[in-house]
């Protein structure tokens, strides 16, 4: 039976090529846009190396101090993190690291702009970097302020011409470091791990950072299991309740929160207060946009299908006259549509593969590698099937209601 439906379906597709083209164009284009959007979201928030433990990680990304006259929001300073985040007992590990700072290096008179991040040794234990050469520096390196550096592939090419870098020394920002490890490039928007060069915090040019409450640093907290996350959030909140602002005359309140990266992103983009969780709101907005975007292609497909099916009134008449039930007819049309949508889905899949390759190659976002992964493909398949069923049912239902006599005469309203 199914085989017959499929045969009929392909004959129908070939008969009215223009309609088939319109449907395929609509479906594949819609899927393309959705899959590129999902690939972007995945690129921002998905768990892939080095952030493989994202599901049990939290971060402290922002600090807000407020007083009667002024409000100051920035990322936290080393002293704050050292005092209130490092001692968290419910966490497995805590890492403190600076935000990446753009620094200059010079090669043959040409300026090479690189990002430099200062981290502790725990950073390399929480994040799982795949090392191309050598390995990470250790907590011991950080304690004794060894001038060692881990660099990414791009830096190896820019500063050392791509040859083996281990043990060589590089000069960055007026300081000299010995390379102990080389890792693959980390995309720009992975705020936690991103940088070009990673060096121990203690190699900073002055130790003033140790006395700063505000600015320049962030922390990553690793929980033992996922279920520990609420406890960590609670412990952190209760710890900072009594935190003392450095300048009590101007500020009397300190607020912060341990949040997932998505939560911190939602807070930033929705412009809400530090410590507020707006991730559900952002998720709602994103889903809303996706649904709104899909309404137009769906309606378009429904309209095309209504027209397309009208043309087959005589066929429906014959089928009905020979006893086909309404359900059988609806089933047939829906299957036809699903097949068409799956073909469109396949085209969309190939297109999104090409477009993502193009965006990756364009260098719009430094080190971004967009992939069509199997998960995105499954989303795409689900969306295509949804399209097929949704856009097929309404017209099919209407046509299947026709009286056989009317249908045989080719009249449909």
């Amino acid at each position: 039976m199914l085989e017959n439906y499929l045969k009929i379906a392909f004959k129908v597709f070939q008969r009215r090529k223009f309609f088939t083209f319109i449907s395929l164009f609509g479906i594949s284009f819609t899927l393309l846009v959705l899959m590129v959007a999902v690939a972007f979201l995945d690129h921002f928030f998905g768990a892939f190396p080095p952030e493989t433990k994202l599901d049990r990680s939290l971060g402290v990304y922002a600090l807000r101090m407020s007083g009667p006259h002024s409000i100051w929001t920035a990322n936290p300073g080393y002293q704050f993190l050292d005092r209130y985040v490092r001692p968290l007992t419910s966490a497995e590990k805590v890492s403190i690291h600076s935000e990446p700072v753009k620094v200059c290096s010079w090669k043959d008179g040409q300026r090479v702009s690189l990002y430099l991040k200062r981290t502790d040794g725990e950073f390399w234990q929480i994040l799982e970097f795949r090392f191309l050469e050598g390995g990470p520096f250790t907590p011991e390196d950080e304690r004794s302020a060894n001038f060692v550096a881990v660099i990414n592939e791009a830096t190896r090419t820019k500063l050392l011409g791509g040859s083996a870098a281990l043990g060589k020394s590089i000069e960055v920002d007026g300081q000299r470091f010995r390379v102990v490890g080389v890792v693959p490039n980390v995309p720009f928007f992975r705020m936690g791990p991103f940088s070009d060069i990673w060096v121990p915090i203690s190699t900073s040019k002055s130790d003033a950072y140790k006395r700063e409450m505000m600015g320049g640093f962030g922390a990553t907290i690793l929980a033992r299991t996922r279920s520990d996350l609420p406890a960590i959030r609670r412990e952190f909140s209760s710890r900072i309740e009594h935190a003392e602002p450095p300048d009590p005359k101007n500020y009397d309140r300190v607020e912060s929160g341990a949040e997932t990266f998505f939560e911190s992103f939602a807070r930033e983009i929705l412009n809400s207060k530090v410590g507020e969780d707006r991730s559900t709101a952002l998720l709602g907005i994103l889903c809303g946009i996706a649904v709104l975007f899909m309404v137009l292609p769906t309606l378009n497909l429904v309209n095309v299908n209504v027209s397309r099916i009208l043309e087959r009134t005589p066929e429906i008449g014959v089928r009905k006259a020979f006893g086909a039930s309404r359900r059988t007819l609806v089933g047939q049309f829906v299957i036809e549509n699903v097949v068409l949508c799956l073909v469109g889905g396949a085209i969309g899949f190939v297109l999104s593969f090409l477009v993502l390759r193009m965006i990756s190659a364009s260098g719009l976002i430094p080190y971004a590698e967009f992939h069509v992964n199997y998960r995105i493909f499954l989303y795409g398949l689900a969306v295509a099937t949804f399209f097929g069923v949704f856009s097929g049912v309404l017209p099919a239902w209407r046509m299947a209601r026709l009286h056989p006599v009317e249908a045989l005469r080719g009249r449909a309203r």
Binding site: F18, F19, F21, I22, F25, G26, F29, V33, H69, S70, V101, K102, V103, C104, W106, G109, Q110, R111, S113, D173, G174, S204, K205, S206, A208, Y209, R211, E212, M213, M214, G215, G216, P246, D247, K249, N250, V295, L296, P297, L299, N300, L301, V302, N303, V304, V306, S307, R308, L310, E311, L364, R409, G410, A412, R413
Partner: protein, 405 residues
């Protein structure tokens, strides 16, 4: 005639309703993208208020004071850095500022003036900042040495802020807010045309400049809100090679060992900024264009099928004396009616924005223009889609209708 068209549309109301809804949603999509484009284009055409050619920005990462306010040592070091940079023969001038053009961060401050709250971009500049950046004064003056030891804090604001607060009145000598206990009064000494830091694509912003005085380190020490200028703007002689950047950075590094310096030409920062601003507009435009193409193709298909189905009716009309033009008018007229219904549906939704007061910084003019442009584009699109089907319909011979079935 119109009545007849409506009747024809009404007779096939179910199928037409779907098409009208589709056109309505297409209108909304089009309207959103056209507004975004019109807004950006409007911004692009407004003057920047400064020049960016032949200027290097040197970002100073000091990280040496714990409360991020002016300290005598910080001011002294910054002053020495300025001096060191001035010694190069390639350098025409060096100014210092808090937030340079084309930087992604911003210092916002909330003000309340005469019961009205508003947000301003706060910035600082040295006395030579205005000439170095090529700002244009509308009235009053920029900061000068005569501000040394004045009993008020001089500020310079942009024209938009002056208009917002003081309307047609002369803003000079007025203040933005009541001074807090023990604070010096802030007084407007000049109005500049604009300083659109975020670049060509940015929207309107209110700007307040404070004076950064590197010669007198005590001048700002009593002011906890003021921050040291963390960027040097270095104007170079035209044609200075890029290699100069390394020499400049080396020299600055030798003056302040503990600092980090990030040297980049404003032209480069400008490129990055405009790429970031352009990307979403281009993406939205491409997606919208494809959506419109899809709607157009779908509509053509629907109309084509519609015409084929109505062979008998149209043939009959021809037999009864309707000309080819009449048939064209019939098909396109029906389409026009459906499109209008769709646009009305979309417009009802779009009109909620100004009714709910959600226009924000976009402004009524951009809104109105986008509304008109979207309507024109949508009518043109649907009429274009109707051309081929209506030509098919006009070609139908009366004879065909007679031996139809």
């Amino acid at each position: 005639m119109i009545g007849h068209l409506f009747k024809m549309v009404w007779n096939r109301k179910r199928a037409n309703a779907l098409v009208a809804i589709e056109i309505g949603i297409a209108f909304l999509v089009l309207f959103a993208v056209v507004s975004l484009t019109a807004w950006s284009a409007g911004n692009y055409r407004r003057p920047l208020g400064f020049t960016w050619q032949n200027i290097l920005n040197v970002k100073i990462n000091a990280r040496s004071s714990s409360d991020d306010t002016w300290g005598p040592d910080l001011v002294e070091t910054t002053r020495r850095l300025v001096q060191a940079a001035r010694e190069f023969p390639e350098v025409e001038g060096v100014a210092a500022t808090l937030s340079p053009p084309y930087a992604f961060n911003n210092n916002l401050g909330g003000f309340t003036h005469a019961g009205r709250s508003f947000e301003c971009s706060l910035n600082e500049g040295t006395d030579n900042f205005k000439d170095l950046m090529g700002l244009s004064l509308v009235s009053g003056r920029w900061f000068t040495e005569e501000d040394n030891g004045a009993n008020f804090k001089p500020i310079v604001i942009n024209e938009a802020l002056a208009r917002l607060l003081f309307g047609a009145d002369n803003p000079l000598g007025k203040r933005l807010r009541e001074p807090a206990e023990g604070e010096r009064e802030e007084r407007v000494v000049g109005v500049i045309s604009d300083f659109r830091r975020a670049g060509e694509f940015s929207g309107a912003e209110y700007v307040v400049f404070y004076r950064a005085n590197l010669d007198d380190s005590r001048a700002n020490l009593d002011d906890p809100g003021a921050r040291p200028p963390r960027n040097l703007l270095v104007r170079l002689k035209p044609g200075t090679p890029r290699a100069f950047e390394e020499r400049l950075a080396g020299k600055l590094q030798s003056v302040a060992r503990e600092y980090s310096f990030e040297v980049s030409p404003l032209s480069e920062l400008r490129e990055t900024m405009s790429m970031f601003r352009r990307a979403p507009i281009v993406a939205a435009g491409v997606v919208a264009a494809f959506l419109m193409l899809m709607v157009g193709l779908g509509l053509t298909g629907v109309l084509w099928q519609n015409v084929t189905q109505r062979t008998k009716e149209i043939g009959l009309r021809r037999a009864k004396g309707a000309t080819q033009t009449d048939i064209h008018v019939l098909v396109l007229g029906e389409l026009f009616v459906i499109t209008s219904i769709g646009i009305v549906l979309g417009a009802v939704v779009a009109l909620q924005l100004p009714l709910l007061g959600l226009l924000g910084t976009v402004g009524g003019k951009v809104y109105a223009i986008s509304f008109g442009v979207s309507i024109v584009i949508l009518y043109s699109l649907t009429m274009l889609c109707g051309l081929y089907p209506s030509a098919l319909a006009a070609r139908i011979q009366p004879a065909e209708a007679l031996h139809y079935e």
